[in-house]
């Protein structure tokens, strides 16, 4: 996973440059863009099949399939197209609205769903590039949400400052929860996959406990495991007025995407991250402090994932939250990072796509009665297909590029001994 950006930049200083075109052409020929598109198409087709399967109208029509086969096919088509059209209208543009301003509202919903997905995906992707698999998104989000939320409703600070402090508290919480993983990995060699999975549950029960304990997170005078509403001073401001749900979180997310891109491809820290991710042994021999890189990477990763939790509590649901605040984003982030191939801008667009699925999925559930869980199925299928280009190529009868027999692996062999 070396960075093409660097490749392109250095190329300019050469007399006869292989040029960005070659790089782009190569990318297309090796098929990763085509594979990505085809994977999405394939997953949507499988989704359509599932939708058709469970549609009672199709079942009814198939009862007299031999009498009137076209009825069955017609109702199948109605079922699938109806579902995807409501998905589209719920995610991009609603044609039933009179004017553009209200027609485009679904797209702002998409952006709203996408913001936490992107930033959490960035966190997971950054860890990937350092050779770490952060499955701990849920825990990091919960802790960050708890920290940001607590500051948000319990403190009383002036505008702007309150928001900044709440965000900082959340970032610290997420970074801490991720940093524990980095620290354990660096000092004891504990496998981050196991530790992050386990910390998800620890965070869940910890936050659950705090949510039902008065004086911690529980709203005063309430018996429900839910917090008080966030103080207005700590709420992320609306971007496009009150008509739309879109909040300032999106701007933060765009800024963070640029920042992560800069870190990974332009900074010394990112160079060291990538070196450790590709070959921790060589990095260590070359004087890069692998254990510190693990800790830094997990701090950053946890902070970024935590940012998703912050956007949730300070932007999406400022009316107070319960232990389901992570809304599965921690796991979705993994699929976002994989779809985006752990590249910052790839993650950005993958997050947009999955945000659209989410926004559209709810619309689809409301309009067509199709359970939102179909979105989970489609997302996971996309990732499975993307991870196995030979499968997609075989299905679409595409040629195999030369020299393609490398495993899709984001993790590298373990370091001999980092602990000192």
């Amino acid at each position: 996973m070396s960075d093409n950006k660097l490749t392109a930049e250095v190329a300019e200083t050469k007399p006869a440059p292989p040029s960005r075109w070659n790089v782009a052409l190569n990318e297309i020929l090796s098929g990763s863009i085509i594979i990505s598109i085809l994977s999405v198409v394939l997953a949507l087709v499988v989704g359509a099949i599932l939708i058709v399967l469970v549609d009672p109208k199709v079942a009814t029509a198939s009862g007299y399939f031999f009498a009137r086969p076209l009825d069955t096919l017609g109702s199948m088509w109605d079922s699938a197209s109806g579902a995807y059209s409501s998905l589209f209208q719920g995610a991009i543009y609603n044609f039933r609205r009179p004017d553009f301003a209200s027609g485009i509202r679904p797209f702002t919903e998409t952006l709203n769903f996408a913001a936490p997905l992107i930033v959490a995906g960035l966190g997971v992707a950054l860890a990937f590039r350092v050779g770490l698999f952060n499955i701990g998104g849920r825990g990091q989000m919960l802790i960050a949400a708890a920290c940001a939320g607590y500051v948000g409703f319990a403190f009383d600070l002036p505008p702007v400052l309150h928001l900044v402090v709440a965000i900082a508290a959340g970032l610290a919480g997420g970074a801490l929860w991720g940093g524990i993983v980095g620290l354990l990995k660096a000092r004891t060699g504990a496998h981050e996959v196991i530790v992050t999975i386990m910390l998800n549950y620890v965070a869940f029960y910890l936050v659950s406990y705090m949510l039902r304990t008065p004086g911690l997170l529980q709203a005063p005078g309430s018996n429900n495991p839910k917090t008080a509403p966030i103080n207005p001073n700590a709420i992320l401001p609306d971007l496009l007025g009150t008509t739309y749900n879109l909040n300032f979180g999106l701007i933060i997310v765009i800024a963070l995407t640029v920042l992560v891109w800069w870190i990974l491809s332009r900074s010394s820290l990112g160079f060291q991250f990538r070196a450790v991710g590709e070959n921790p042994n060589a990095a260590r021999v070359a004087g890069i402090r692998v254990d510190r890189m693990y800790i830094y990477a997990m701090l950053l990763s946890g902070g970024l994932v935590g940012m998703a939790g912050i956007i949730q509590v300070l932007g999406t649901v400022p009316s107070g939250f319960s232990s389901g605040i992570d809304a599965g984003i921690g796991f979705d982030a993994i699929t976002v990072a994989l779809l985006g191939r752990a590249r910052p801008w790839g993650v950005f667009f993958a997050g947009l796509l999955f945000g659209a699925f989410k926004a559209g999925g709810f619309a689809m559930q409301a309009a067509e009665g199709i359970p939102i869980d179909i979105v989970l199925v489609v997302q996971s299928l996309i990732v499975l297909f993307i991870a196995a280009p030979p499968l997609v190529r075989a299905l679409f009868r595409l040629p195999t590029p030369l020299g393609e027999h490398k495993p899709v692996s984001l993790r590298k062999p373990k370091l001999k001994a980092v602990a000192r």
């Binding site: 354990l184 990732v383 495993p407």
Partner: protein, 439 residues
């Protein structure tokens, strides 16, 4: 860790070894001091002193050892809460001191000391938590075994899969698929046995995907596992919401397995009713654990399986088909985990619910690691985790002094401590997680 030099006789050993180079060499060894065990002990001892002694409660804790239906009735035991707490705290301190001494003289703390320590701490904790209350010990254990069953099946699946070299994060998915399919098939056919077989097939199907993607397409095994969990969760939830809820009498009301009482054995005090008044699935579990534990070490199947998980290239050079060995054993692992899934619907709950495994697969994974990829140890780990979970609900009923969430956290915290190496060196199969590419 610190290192000190002991007496060295390297000159003589080098000289004597030189004359007979083909002799088996005993390498000079030096112990490396590890403070992990005593430090862990000290932490828990301090906790014990604070809880059982300083925060000790002046009451009597009652332990009932028999239920009314037992053939052999045992008298219940009364322990003075505070005195027991003090005695146990002192014992914990003594063991901690012993462990420190062992570390000073560079000897490892033996496993039986850890076991004794753990049991003592648990007795102390139960006594403290049950102050002024009565705890029904067989009930506590029965619930613990019940909660452990799916964990044990999941762990056996995890062990087989990982020992053959494929990391199995998808245990959760295999359990969930098994639970879903067994509920539907058993409901439709009205036959729990068919449901059980269908559960095995479902777990195997998840394994096929895991195996195909990780072995054929060389996709990172952890990624496949994680994504498969999401996929199975999505699929089962989708079908549950769209079909099962509307036709629950037809599709989601499976018959359950009856309890089978084994004569004589079920009349043993305390453990009899817990272990031998169970459903078919539980007896199946005993058999599978025994067979896996034996066959992994003693049979050709086990030898080949382990060779592929340790050094696939070496296995390949002696004519073992690495891909097929991995494929079929991962499938077998899925089938076993699938039985664990069936236990949810055919053994305990009685119908399928959305996301009903609720992370059991991850606890099973924890049991695999905590049990160091060994069937018997993993069995014990799963029982421990089941015990902790059940203890939480028992304590919630009698009014626990510890928030139930902290009890629920225990398996996860214990696992983190285990993988961080405080419980001894955890070494998995050497080639686990690595795709095998010929040449």
């Amino acid at each position: 860790m610190s290192v000190t030099t002991t007496n060295s006789n390297n000159a003589s050993s080098a000289a004597s070894g030189a004359n007979s180079p083909s002799q088996v060499i005993v390498r000079e060894k030096e112990a490396i001091r590890s403070w992990k065990a005593p430090i862990s002990f000290a932490v828990f001892a301090a906790l014990g002193v604070v809880l059982f002694w300083i925060l000790g409660r002046d009451a009597v804790s009652n332990f009932r050892l028999s239920t009314d239906t037992d053939v052999i009735q045992l008298a219940s035991v009364d322990l003075p809460t505070q005195l027991t707490g003090i005695v146990i705290s002192l014992a914990l301190i003594l063991i901690t001191a012993y462990s420190f001494w062992l570390s000073v003289v560079k000897r490892p703390t033996p496993i039986w000391v850890v076991t004794v320590y753990g049991v003592l701490f648990m007795v102390g904790f139960l006594t403290w938590a049950g102050a002024g209350e009565s705890i029904l010990v067989p009930g506590l254990l029965l619930g613990a075994v019940g909660l452990s069953i799916p964990l044990i099946f999941g762990a056996m699946g995890g062990i087989i899969s990982e020992r053959v070299g494929v990391v199995n994060i998808a245990i959760e998915g295999q359990l969930l698929a098994g639970a879903f399919v067994s509920a539907v098939v058993a409901s439709v056919t009205g036959n729990a046995y068919l449901g059980l077989i269908a559960a095995m097939a479902a777990g195997m199907l998840v394994s096929f995907v895991l195996a195909t993607f990780s072995i054929k397409y060389l996709v990172d095994q952890v990624i496949v596992g994680v994504v498969l969990n999401v996929l199975v969760l999505g699929l089962t939830s989708f079908f549950y919401s769209s079909i099962l809820t509307e036709n629950s009498s037809l599709l989601n009301s499976p018959p359950r397995f009856d309890r089978i009482e084994i004569p004589l054995l079920s009349q043993i005090p305390i453990v009899g009713p817990v272990l031998f008044r169970q459903t078919l699935i539980v007896y199946l579990m005993y058999i599978i654990v025994a067979v896996v534990a034996y066959a992994l070490v003693k049979t050709k199947w086990g030898l080949r399986l382990r060779s592929v998980g340790e050094h696939p290239q070496a296995a390949d050079t002696v004519g073992i088909n690495v891909y097929m060995t991995r494929f079929w054993n991962v499938s077998l692992a899925g089938a076993i985990a699938g039985i664990g899934g069936a236990y949810f619907t055919l053994g305990s709950v009685g119908s399928f619910q959305k996301d009903m495994t609720a992370g059991a697969g991850f606890i099973a994974l924890a049991a695999v690691i905590f049990g160091r990829w060994d069937p018997i140890r993993a069995l014990l780990a799963a029982l421990l985790f089941g015990f902790a979970t059940n203890l939480q609900s028992v304590l919630a009923i009698i009014g626990s002094p510890v928030p139930s969430e902290f009890m629920l956290m225990l398996p996860y915290v214990v696992t983190i401590i285990a993988v961080a190496g405080f419980v001894g060196k955890v070494r998995g199969p050497a080639a686990s997680g690595k795709p095998y590419i010929k040449g």
